[in-house]
């Protein structure tokens, strides 16, 4: 947590530096750079923490010790997931404070919506990291796989836009493959948009949608992780 706080402070300082390079709208630049940068750092921090925590738990036989106690396997998975979600909330609050600090005069309702949505994003990624760290025994591979999902999730709106454009055959093999991949990819591009920080959330944006989105995707990865954990022999 301390390291994360330091990284966020450095990120905010860099945002202030970059923002001051703009000839006008300096505070808007600072806010957008701080928001976008700290959002990525939040996800990176959560993913690294979850993956290395889980892999260390396996390697130190901590999981086997837990299984020797009267605790169900599903309880262990869902307890981990809950703990990581709570951690995501606290780290999200830290990011929110950091973004507020760089341009307090621009604080508005959009900030609150942005912070809640990046908390949801961090929770989704924490659960995804939990899933990959259950399946993949190498911590670095699990991290790379999780970050791959993150990048894909962030770009999915753009990729689907390309699929639907006239640039490609929408019913071609690759376009259809991308459609299939998008079914099981979180639409992270719909969360934590920088525009909310400066213009407020756009009309029609629904929190219920964001919550359902996070819940559905988290449910998929947690059930998949549970399946592996339940079948695994120690």
């Amino acid at each position: 947590m301390f390291a994360m706080a330091i990284v966020l402070i450095v990120s905010a300082s860099l945002a202030v530096f970059l923002g001051s390079a703009a000839i006008v709208e300096k505070s808007l630049f600072t806010l957008v750079f701080a928001g976008a940068g700290s959002r990525m750092l939040l996800v990176l921090g959560v993913v690294l923490f979850v993956v290395f925590f889980i892999r260390r738990a396996f390697e130190s036989k901590e999981i086997e010790y837990l299984l020797s106690r009267p605790v169900g396997r599903l309880s262990i998975i869902f307890s981990f997931a809950l703990a990581f979600c709570i951690l995501s909330v606290f780290m999200g609050l830290g990011v929110g404070a950091c973004v507020f600090a760089v341009a307090p005069q621009l604080f508005g309702s959009g900030h609150i919506i942005w912070v809640i949505s990046i908390m949801l994003e961090a929770m989704i990624m924490a659960n995804t990291a939990l899933f990959f760290s259950m399946y993949i025994s190498s911590a670095s591979s699990a991290t790379m796989a999780t970050l791959g999902v993150y990048v894909l999730g962030r770009l999915m709106g753009q990729l689907l836009g390309i699929v639907d454009s006239e640039m490609v055959d929408s019913y071609g093999f690759y376009a259809m493959a991308m459609q299939m991949v998008s079914v099981i990819t979180p639409r992270l591009d719909l969360l934590g948009q920088s525009s909310w920080l400066i213009y407020g959330a756009q009309e029609g944006y629904s929190f219920v949608y964001a919550l359902c989105h996070g819940a559905f995707f988290s449910a998929i990865v947690l059930v998949a992780a549970s399946l592996d954990f339940v079948r695994r022999e120690f």
């Binding site: 006008v24 630049f29 750079f33 640039m167």
Partner: protein, 247 residues
């Protein structure tokens, strides 16, 4: 406690010799590359709209701000200073339109396009940018009309293309921004006067005065009257015009 040996073993001497050789080779390599520096290949092509937000991992406003800083510093990096006349304004305008798609609300790129890139030494190069300023200036929010005023000014005074200035001024007069000053509605009359079409300029301004008299401030009314009486009408005509009687 570590033991410090005196002298070097045969293996250590070989390793030190190898280190000196690779350092020398690296130095020779550095000498050959010392004067090779990044070249500026002019304004890079703007990506298609569909790919634009990829720069910010799907975050359009983040992409906008990254691109905006890039445009601001374009040609001025690595100790290099590039004259505005050397910029490819066609490609630059493609970037401006792309930026408008990413964030149509921000005034940052219109500011750059008007006040920074508008300082170009060869005004003709700036012509494509006028279409971008027209697009931005037609938006009804904020002070977007200001950018279209700049386009009219540029066409009128720097390009000295009065037809283009009139065309832009007519679009400016259509602005739906209720907070915009009344003189932007009168801009076509100012350009018509410059073109020498004084009769039409006169009728446009008089119509504007009649239609907006109740909304205009006294100084706006006086400015319009002064323009009619001092710029459009000659001194003899002004004496006979009822509008100019009490000036």
């Amino acid at each position: 406690m570590s033991i410090v040996k005196s002298g070097y073993s045969s293996l250590e001497k070989k390793v030190i010799a190898a280190l000196i050789i690779v350092l020398s080779a690296n130095f020779m390599f550095w000498l050959s590359l010392r004067d090779v520096q990044a070249q500026w290949g002019n304004v890079p092509p703007a990506p298609k709209e569909q790919f634009a937000a990829l720069y910010g991992l799907g975050d359009e406003v983040f992409s906008y701000r990254i691109n905006a800083l890039m445009l601001q510093n374009l040609g001025e990096t690595g100790g290099r200073v590039t004259s505005l006349r050397d910029y490819d304004y066609e490609t630059l305008t493609d970037w401006f339109f792309l930026q408008h798609k990413l964030d149509p609300v921000s005034d940052y790129v219109p500011y750059l396009a008007s006040y920074y890139f508008g300082s170009v030494q060869e005004p003709e190069k700036y012509r494509p940018v006028l279409e971008y300023l027209r697009l931005v200036g037609m938006r009804p929010d904020g002070i977007k009309w200001n950018w279209l005023v700049h386009a009219v000014f540029f066409a009128r005074h720097r390009l000295e293309d009065l037809d283009k200035a009139l065309e832009l001024a007519k679009d400016l007069a259509k602005s739906e921004n209720s907070d915009a000053p009344i003189w932007i509605k009168q801009m076509p009359a100012f350009v018509l006067n410059s073109k020498g079409d004084k009769r039409e300029a006169y009728s446009l301004l008089v119509e504007s005065l009649k239609a907006n008299m109740d909304k205009m401030k006294p100084e706006e009314i006086n400015a319009a009257r002064a323009f009619i009486c001092e710029q459009i009408l000659g001194s003899d005509e002004a004496k006979g015009d009822p509008l100019c009687q009490k000036m």
